[in-house]
């Protein structure tokens, strides 16, 4: 709750900004990125829904997202099947204890995975350069409520994932929606203390 308070305060602050100051920062995308970069650590609960052509109803899973600047992102699925997906540095670890699976891959060795990881991680890190290295970035909205529409630059990646949409409020990433030919997935986050 304290976190949400902070967001609200920041939003108020933005409203209260005198015009000349706002004119000094004419790029709202840069402002959003700066705000995200200022967050060193955050926790959020998520609900994810996946739709696929072979399934007649979406698959739902829930868990928590843990972020620690500059490069550690953990997506911990709690139900229905526990899973930990951890990105740290160039290493991705996927752990599914019930199946005895623990796999580590190197992002450098996986050019088709890195753009998908960076879509979320570079956004949380407020690292626009990395984001743009992998995606065409289109920004709409303003610093309070924004929307990033990413299209992977790599044709190979684009063959599988056509776009990723991220929505946020201030420095909080609220929604990640991925549209691919494998179907569509929506991950909705709510901040945790």
């Amino acid at each position: 709750m304290a976190r949400r308070g902070a967001v609200a305060r920041r939003a108020l602050l933005a409203l209260a900004l005198p015009l000349p100051l706002a004119a000094q920062a004419p790029d709202p995308l840069a402002a959003v990125m700066a705000g995200l970069a200022a967050v060193r650590e955050s926790r959020a609960a998520f609900v994810e829904e996946k739709e696929m052509p072979e399934l007649d109803r979406p698959l739902v899973s829930r868990g928590v997202l843990l972020w620690r600047a500059p490069d550690r992102l953990e997506k911990r699925t709690l139900e229905p099947v526990p899973e930990t997906f951890l990105v740290e540095g160039d290493r991705v670890t996927l752990e599914r204890p019930q199946r005895g699976v623990r796999e580590t891959i190197d992002l450098d060795a996986s050019p088709e995975i890195r753009p998908l990881v960076e879509a979320i991680r570079a956004t949380l890190a407020g690292d626009l350069a990395t984001l743009r290295a992998h995606h065409e970035v289109a920004f709409t909205g303003d610093a309070r409520a924004w929307r990033l529409r990413l299209v992977p630059r790599s044709p190979r990646v684009r063959a599988a994932v056509q776009r990723i949409v991220l929505e946020g409020e201030g420095a909080f990433l609220r929604l990640v929606e991925t549209q691919g030919n494998e179907g569509r997935s929506r991950m909705m986050a709510t901040p945790l203390p």
Partner: protein
Amino acid sequence: MRRLAALLGTLALLAGALALTLRLVEIRGDIADFLPAPQSAEGAFLLQELRGGTATTLLLAGIEGAPAADLARISQAMAARLAADGRFAMVANGALLVGEAEAALLFAHRYALSAAGPDAFTEPALRAALEGVLDGLRSSAAPLVRRTAFADPTGAFLGLLRGWAGEARVATSHGVWMAEGPRALLLAQSRAAGLDTDAQAEAVAAFHAAFAAAAPPPGARLLLSGPGVFAAEAAATVQADVRLVSILSLLLVGAFLLWRYRSPVMLAVVAVALAAGALAGTLVVAAVFGHVHGAALGFGITTLGIAADYPLLVVTGRAPGEALRTAARRIWPTLRLAAATSVAGLVPMLAAGFPGLAQFGLFAASGLIAAVLAARWLVPALLPPEGLPVRPLPDALSRALLRLPARRGAVLGGLGAVAVALALAGGPRLERDLAALSPVPAAVQALDGELRRQVGAPDVRVVLTLTAPDAEAALQAAERAAAALLAAGAAGAIDHPGRILPSAATQRARLDALPAAEVLAARLEAAQAGLPFRPGAFAPFLAAVAEARAQPPLTPPHLAASPVLAARLAPLLRPEGARWRALLLPSGIEDMAALRRAAAAVPGLLVVDIKAETEALLDAGVGTALRWSAAGGVMVLLLLGAGRGLAGGLRVAGVLAGALLVTFAALAVLGERITVFHLTAALLLAGVGMDYALFMSRSEPNSGRDGNEEAARALGSVITCMITTLLTFGLLALCATPVLHATGLTVAVGVVAAFLLACTLAPRRDATT
């Protein structure tokens, strides 16, 4: 002046002829020539593996000294270049193993290759598989899962790949194998046999060229290891050591001979005898065997060190005012006996039964004969009649040495004590580790161990092997053997060719066990109940199973299209003459005896304990050499008895035995383990020691001045021989290379002991008592 020209001309002629001969004669390097003919099938297999087994063709490379990203780039560039090079059967660097075409082939044959039995297609198993698919689709790995899940819900294909990947325990980074450091790792298998030194040198050169072509940043280093590299490295190390020691000893011996004979000519005289010996040895061996073994040449030339003494003994033994020819004629009976006994000691090796030892014996024996003939007839003809002036030894030294026979009792007592001590300590210890015999520097061996550990290449200790008339029969036999051993609990796991490519029979059985299309469809529908899959989601799976049932099995001739599978299979299954050989590599052996028992129950299956078999081969080799040396010793004794009578013979034999005893005791005290190199050096030592003893006791004691002068001259000759030997072979003791160090140390300790004993056991003289 004319004589000097003749001497130098003769030397140049001999040296030129020797160089030409060595160039023309075929020199072989097959170590197996130096091992006895194997008595067992296990030994034969091991010898064959040593000669050209897959293990000997492996090349390991590490790239370090740059950031990981650069190393990975170099690794990829090198792997691409080496894979395109026809010299390598396999190149691996951890990058995506299976290409798309191969993946498609393996995917199509997944039900024949996968070990998952018909149980995978029951309704409950299918239900579990479908739930697993659902789990996978929920997971972050969903895109990967989706790629194969609907055509292969039971995971036969992924299981196959996982089974292969599970064996490589190397971490990958930036897409390639990367160990701590960082160090990128590459693995290659040359098509040429490991002991084909020239081809291995080419393979090594190809690695260096590929590294250079990858434009490494400054500081980046290529580390290479493997049997081929070892061979090249060993040759280079030995050569470098020998060159250094040769130069050093040439200078020292030259200086010593210059001091002793006031002329550098003596050096050329010694060289003439040695060159004559080496030339004769090479020619005779080449004439008899058609080729010369490199090691026989090396050991043989070492043993020719005995021959260096012959011209020294002739020149130094000349009495004042005596013509050199006369002196040579006078000394000849002793010289002849010395050479004859040395040759007699070597001749039995001709019958030893393995070509390496026979060549060595023949080389050394014919070389000694040529050298002694050169000393008798060539040397006097090439030197002025008055010979070379000999500087007298310091008075105090010769008096002290000539007085040694007075202390004979004490010395013999001391020898007895040494013998008892050595016997109590359990005698000299034999070296049984092949690695310790290797002239490869320890640092290179350590690097090899490290790279092997990092790549996860197993250090295979036990190999099971069998042969069959064709590949299919070999695969079937390997499958049966592995099943029998696992059932008996003889090993934790067994890697065998059937795991990579099951026999056609096994593949057919697996495909026949697949359920019929309508049966599978019914089970699948039942298994799907309540799960969110749309009808028809698994149509690709049903089609694939129906297709697989009609498929012909994958057999070795198909593998050209599957390079990774072929590379995995090659070390475990290969044609051998008209038959096929399969290898089984057990791991997690707890009870070797149980493994042997279980293996004995499988017809035709050999258990090869690599370490034990190697040790047995080495022991047999050393044992054979020792037995034939003992036979040689008996012949030497007989000759000595014939030449010097019982007492004289015993005197010489006493010097020999005492010198060998002191040498081996000293080696034991120094913590040296006895290797074949020590034994060769001991032969050399025995030869020179015998010369010392023969010359020190040449003239029977008489009370005149002549006798004493004669004794002093003999002492002068023998001490010169000893010092030159020390300055040549003794210096080798300072080398780190095991072969050179062992030779040098043994000879250094031995010649000093032999010299002192020869002085001590020489007949007593009136003037000195």
